[in-house]
């Protein structure tokens, strides 16, 4: 049984999709959650779903990296020590390469990549992480390893997390900070519902048929993430875990 009691876990993108499911699972396993969400209403709705109390919500748009420093300073002032960090915030743009301008790259990378690494950078400082160490998890995607048409920007952003997490794992091991990536396949989230609207029905059907175990649910991903957050995973770092119902084994 996974036990996250006494741990503060900071989760970006906490108010929907995978972030919400991870928040719920971690709270159910005893953690106190520091939720980072762009939408206050959804953030408050999420907190009401969490077991336990004392969860903290920051309503901020982390596309602006300056707010991340503000969040970390606030946590230090509250004398909170972080034992886990999950970067689940992310956006997706389905666009042909010819429309994938540097502006689009910046928009996607600001949230998917830069915000995650900025949190990792600031959390790696001595005075914010728990003295016994911490577990960082960057939510990448199976599309960080697979080429998918009309997904150049998204694929590149998710691939960046995989590579960066390994470097972070090597660099922070001496501080007992582990860093791993989780690479979900298609799970039933709002973002995926929007993605499915933007592609032809036959393409949607093909994608679903290419998952031997069917599409995933956010709680499947949450189970793996909370394992990696826990002390049960204390010898795992620099790893990237595909969890996709068999999608990538073709």
């Amino acid at each position: 049984m996974i036990d996250l009691s006494g741990k503060y876990i900071l989760i970006t993108g906490a108010s929907s999709g995978l972030g919400r499911a991870i928040s719920q699972k971690a709270a159910a396993q005893g953690a106190t959650i520091v939720l980072i969400a762009r939408n206050e209403t959804k953030g408050i709705e999420t907190i009401k779903l969490l077991k336990g109390s004392n969860h903290i919500l920051y309503t901020e748009d982390i596309a602006n990296c300056l707010v991340i420093e503000k969040i970390i300073k606030s946590l230090i002032e509250k004398k909170i020590k972080i034992s886990g960090f999950v970067h689940s915030a992310g956006i997706e743009k389905t666009l042909p390469l010819k429309s994938s301008t540097t502006a689009v790259f910046h928009e996607v990378f600001n949230i998917n990549v830069f915000a995650g690494f900025e949190f990792a950078r600031l959390l790696s400082q001595k005075n914010i992480v728990d003295h016994s160490g911490a577990s960082f998890i960057l939510i990448s995607s199976v599309r960080g390893k697979l080429g998918v048409p009309f997904n150049t920007v998204y694929c590149a952003s998710k691939s960046a997390l995989i590579a960066g997490s390994k470097a972070i794992a090597m660099e922070l091991a001496s501080k007992n900070i582990r860093c791993n990536c989780v690479l979900p396949g298609i799970t039933e989230t709002e973002m995926i519902q929007e993605f499915f609207k933007s592609i032809p029905p036959e393409s949607k059907e093909n994608i679903i048929n290419e998952h031997p175990l069917g599409l995933g649910k956010p709680e499947y991903i949450a189970s793996l993430v909370t394992f990696l957050l826990s002390d049960d995973a204390k010898w795992i770092t620099g790893a990237d875990y595909i969890i996709d119902g068999g999608y990538s084994i073709h």
Partner: protein
């Protein structure tokens, strides 16, 4: 943008082998009209006319005229 210009630019964006289509041209008769083209159509219309369509809406269309009607004639300049 006038309707004929829209059709021409859309055909160029989708990289169809021809661009001299008319409002009556049946979409399924176009060489290269496939699921990738559908996604390109969605992107082109959103970028140029600020109208967001879905793949399902486009799949149900017969010709460029019905596409223009779906977008809304008010989005185009008068011929």
């Amino acid at each position: 943008m006038k309707k004929n210009e829209f059709i021409k630019q859309l055909a160029e964006f989708c990289e169809f082998s021809k661009t001299d289509f008319s409002i009556e041209t049946k979409l399924v008769s176009i060489d290269g009209y496939d699921s990738m083209a559908t996604m390109s159509i969605i992107v082109f219309i959103e970028e140029n006319l600020n109208v967001k369509l879905t793949a399902m809406q486009i799949n149900g269309l017969s010709d460029f005229g019905s596409l223009i009607e779906l977008i809304g004639s008010e989005k185009f300049d008068h011929d």
